[in-house]
Point group: C2
Amino acid sequence: MRHKSDEKYRKIIAAATKIFAQKGFFKARVSEIAKEAGIADGTVYIYFKHKDDILISLFEEKMQEVLGNMKEQIALETDPLKKIERFALVHLKLIEDHKDIAEIIQVELRQSSKFMKNYNNTKFLEYLDLISKIIQEGKEKGLIRDDIIPGIAKRAFFGALDEMSRFWVLSKKPKYDIQTASRQITNFFIHGIRKQET
Amino acid sequence: MRHKSDEKYRKIIAAATKIFAQKGFFKARVSEIAKEAGIADGTVYIYFKHKDDILISLFEEKMQEVLGNMKEQIALETDPLKKIERFALVHLKLIEDHKDIAEIIQVELRQSSKFMKNYNNTKFLEYLDLISKIIQEGKEKGLIRDDIIPGIAKRAFFGALDEMSRFWVLSKKPKYDIQTASRQITNFFIHGIRKQET
DNA sequence: CTAATAAATGAACGAAAATTCATGTTAGAA
DNA sequence: TTCTAACATGAATTTTCGTTCATTTATTAG
């Protein structure tokens, strides 16, 4: 490429993130995204095949980032129970720092199955599997009860965090801070799955 | 009303439930709903002001039903911990028996804030509060730890159940049955919040 | 049976957006 | 400097529905 720099591509993704978060995919207008990105409507179609393509790319990019970040953070801990604790904290922190990403993940995660029949959300599944791997590890080390099913536990844990963030995304003045929420959720999740009770 | 029977209204709601669940609100066509209901396009507008109105009415009706049913079921138990257990079971059973309702709640719950600025989802909040009331009751009876915050716990618990049902709604061949999922989730939730550990 | 009213119809309308494309602009090669 | 391919533009085109409304059909009262 001579130009067709990454720059415009990035700008469009950034603009779309903002607009999608603000109005949701269907109510977002391509022209509005273009305007936000400071380019002409037609330019969008040089970088993306169609509107859907913007969302898919955006989602892919963000999840990549989130996933990579989470992996790094988890690797800092050795104790599986500590890893779980950190997962919660990092996840909720992400939500707090990037409400726009959170909103898109929240909504689009639920919709993707409907408007993109054959979009297999690999990245998200990988994210979820970080949790089940930790649980598996904990079981092997004898820290987590044998009867805990990782496939269910990962969903329960993620679901708890996700519902909490939905609440944040929707309310302007969050009632609870991350630390508190994160601690509570981790706390009863860990109490619920671990072997020895205090 | 002379005629303008409830019948057509019901038919439209039923049709919309099916179509919305299938394609999501935005991709659903009014003409398609009409066709599914076996009536003319225009007839829809005799019973509903506009497309949004169909969704809101539908949501309201379904939540009413779900809420009423849940209240009844919970009332059958006296022990707060048992109530929690039953909540999980009833909720997941509902999802299993009415996938279409589940799909609509799943998606629309997340979207409502975006496409209906001033639609206060009272019914849903009431549903959530059933959980926090149980937790409160448990705390008063000394069954649940004092440091548990009902406002967070209710979301964590609901989130866990909700994420589990999302999984069901999306996958054709559920890996786990309700009983198992319900038991697991309840189990580590209860372990996580109660006072005396076994 | 007839009129009067209500309900239902579906073709047609029009507004809203997604996408296209003829034209203009730019950046680098020669 | 000139040439040209890649890029960018945004007005025009096309498509896609939600919604309307003139007309037809059904219902009930007198």
